[in-house]
Amino acid sequence: MRESCHLPLDLSMGYRWPAMLLSVTDLSCARGSAQVLAGVGFSVAEGEALILRGPNGAGKTTLLRTLAGLTPPLAGRIDCAPDAIAYAGHADGLKAQLTVEENLRFWAGAFAARDIAPALDAFDLHPLADRRAGEMSAGQKRRLSLARLLVTGRPVWCLDEPTVSLDVENVGRFARAVEGHIAAGGAAVIATHIDLGLPNARTLDVTPFMAKRLRSDDPFGGDPFAERVG
């Protein structure tokens, strides 16, 4: 039998480019029923970190929730392998009655990871392993919440203000964890206001994408009631 011609041609001609992990095209996001961002486009490849900047209320959180698949986009596309994104939001997602180790083991179980030791190492949580999360300080909880990212085993981290309540030393730990992650072929999209000290990180300011003015090509912003109804 004759071999059929497969349509998706291999254009790379054998050369291996750094794989694109996440690519966003002309994305519009809404918080509630209000459009907050429009026309967002960027891409993140293996080994890249992207810092999102913008004033409060610009829509960084909404963008990250849209990337994580929690909020459906109004328009545009997100190209990403399924189950590639690990999301960490403002809330820590910890149970006060469980110990550090139990909290981490639960998430390791949910993401089918076996070993939690590297995660405990990365954020120096070994001394706290048997402490209940309810008895820890906000910064310690934050470290545990970030350690969770290491047990997800997912390549793209989407982090919303990850350094809130961390001291300088632990911001350093976090930066090293991100560096280790992207060096191992991962990527990260991080909304933050501080300088993380990541040397190779790119910065994306979301201010130009804020849906401040109604644009002429999309006067309704996804809301059918923005049009005159008569």
Binding site: S33, A34, L214, V229
Partner: protein
Amino acid sequence: MASLWEYANPRKFMTVSGALLPWVWGIAAVCLVGGLVWGFFFTPNDFRQGSTVKIIYVHVPSAIMAVNAWFMMLITSLIWLIRRHHVSALAAKAAAPVGMVFTLIALLTGAIWGQPMWGTWWEWDPRLTSFLILFLFYLGYMALWEAVDNPDAAADLTAVLCLVGTVFAVISRYALVFWNQGLHQGATLSLDAEQNIADVFWYPLITALAGFGFLFLALVLYRTRTEIRARRLKALIAQERMA
């Protein structure tokens, strides 16, 4: 190509419903007045039930419309879930209070009719009880609409509730028959007409039924238009805030 779904666009819906509404109100008024006057004053008294039977011209149509309103909500909810037409979701929202009032009318007229007939205002008969439960479903549905801030989320959640509620309402209906065999008379109207009530009662009843149907349609159109305007107002306020 022109399709039915064009009318799901808010503006198109406003134009068409605005033109239709006076006619629907008119037909409803003619049928209601005609059917009720005919029924109340120009039909003979029933030889067993006396003049109390005349409440049938309100009771039966409102009971039928109470159930049909829920089915209309079910269909519009499905259209919203599948095709995401906002007007459809708003029509479901608009129909709920109307259906609830019809349910209430059916319950009250039933009690007024039942008192002289069975000697009691209320009887835990399957048919009566299922209308009471339908009333509770309407209450829950409306309360959920009120409780959720984001209109699209409210539409989604109430649509899912409507779907699940329909299944459970039907199960309840059969569970109630199993629970207590009733004393309510069997269905008065059916299409295979042999056991139907006599023609003298039948024609005014059908007229009143048409009147209630058009009244329901008019009220739902009217309320949907109000909901659309409310959403339009919300959108304007949001635009104002952003600019």
